[in-house]
């Protein structure tokens, strides 16, 4: 099954720029469906990016983040060919991880 995480990491000098698009409903728990019933909260609570065993980006999210979140950030200390490990866990305990090569 395809990963929910799409990621693109490009190294330019000593800075690596990372973009990620994650497929997730990110339901806040406050929205009602067509029948008038609350759609239960279902969102990513933690998102981490690791390089060389170290966390380079960590996010603690709540229901305020919209559906299919997009993340972009830069960090130093990596080079082309290195691996980036991405993982998330949501409020239902589901997880997904993926790795990407820095280009």
């Amino acid at each position: 099954m395809a990963s929910s995480i799409r990621v693109r990491a490009t190294a330019s000098g000593e800075t690596t720029e990372v973009q990620a698009l994650i497929q997730h409903p990110m339901d806040s728990g406050f929205v009602k469906d067509a029948k008038g019933e609350l759609i239960p909260a279902h969102f990513i609570t933690q998102l981490t990016f690791e390089h060389d065993g170290k966390k380079v980006f960590a996010a603690d999210w709540g229901g305020g983040v919209s559906k299919d979140p997009y993340v972009k950030f830069s960090f130093k200390g990596a080079k082309k060919g290195d691996e980036l490990k991405i993982g998330w866990i949501d409020n239902k305990g589901a997880t997904d991880t993926t790795t990407a090569k820095i280009q």
């Binding site: 693109r8 990620a20 698009l21 497929q23 919209s66 559906k67």
Partner: protein, 288 residues
């Protein structure tokens, strides 16, 4: 004597009425429908109003109107929010129907790279056929239930088809058929007619105020506005069809929307697409 004066009075009144009537009608040499002239005037209006915008850029709506938005949008296009819907559309398009046929059997060139030809005027039926309508007809002809015109499935399908036409110039044809010309004219009339309690026409926002704000949104120019359809709107957290955009625009100005794919909507799509002929297909688009 009395009769003569009565006749005089009547003819005078008639003359006055005719004059007044003639006075209120806009002076047009003939009432001939001329789509070519209309398209030329339409395009000139926008290129004159926004001389710094590159012609092809008009299809990018609000991004062509605001530099900061343009920059943010270009970054996002590297990783567009519509990717998931586009993938879903591709999957749906290639999956055969229960009877073994598939969408590619309904469309020229197997449905690939043809979006720029829609809508077209069907001379047998005497009506405008849009891409959404054609897709549902394909489904129904093959024993499948039609999709809602305003939900995700139709949006995903049209997104995929638009994507296969990216970059191709809009190429709408108006056959030399009085019914086609009438459909074009009706579409034009719909576009400029004010409606809803807010008394807005499509033109109020997209001809009079492109680049300006309506609440927090920056308005797109009408030129090229169909080229980006369907659009992934952040506001909708998802991909939305042309039908969805037309009906929601109506309700936002407090006009009760018509039914998706009603004649008025098909005709206004025909008009708007035709006057943007030559501009590239940029769909599916991403919008705020």
């Amino acid at each position: 004597m009395k009769l003569r004066s009565a006749i005089c009075l009547t003819s005078a009144a008639l003359a006055l009425a005719v004059l007044t009537f003639a006075g209120t009608l806009p002076s047009s040499a003939t009432d001939k429908i001329d789509p070519v002239a209309d398209a030329k005037a339409f395009q000139k209006f926008f290129t004159d109003k926004f001389p710094k915008v590159k012609f092809e850029d008009f299809v990018n709506g609000p991004y062509s109107m605001n530099e900061d938005l343009h920059r943010q949008w270009q970054e996002k296009e590297q990783f567009p929010p519509y990717e998931f819907s586009l993938e879903m559309g591709k999957e749906m398009f290639s999956k055969p129907f229960k009877n073994g046929t598939s969408y590619e059997d309904c469309f020229p060139n197997k449905g690939i790279g043809i979006r720029q030809n829609y809508p077209y005027f069907d001379e047998k039926e005497g009506k405008v056929i849009t891409l959404e309508l054609a897709l549902n007809r394909c489904r129904e002809a093959n024993g499948e239930p039609p999709f809602s015109y305003v939900k995700d499935e139709m949006a995903a399908l049209t997104a995929y088809m638009a994507f296969t036409s990216r970059g191709k110039p809009m190429d709408i044809k108006i056959p030399n058929d009085p019914r086609a010309l009438e459909a074009f004219q009706n579409g034009k009339e719909y576009f400029y007619t004010r409606r809803g309690q807010l008394n807005f026409s499509c033109a109020t926002c997209h001809v009079q105020s492109p680049g300006e704000r309506i609440r927090a949104e920056i308005l797109a120019p009408a030129l090229g506005i169909m080229n980006a359809m369907p659009i992934y709107r952040s506001e909708w957290s998802g991909m939305g069809t042309t039908s969805r955009r037309f009906t929601t625009c109506n309700s936002q100005i407090r006009a009760v929307p018509l039914n998706p794919q009603d004649d008025e909507y098909r005709n206004v799509e025909y008009y708007l697409s035709y006057v943007s002929n030559g501009l590239p297909i940029s769909g599916p688009g991403a919008r705020p």
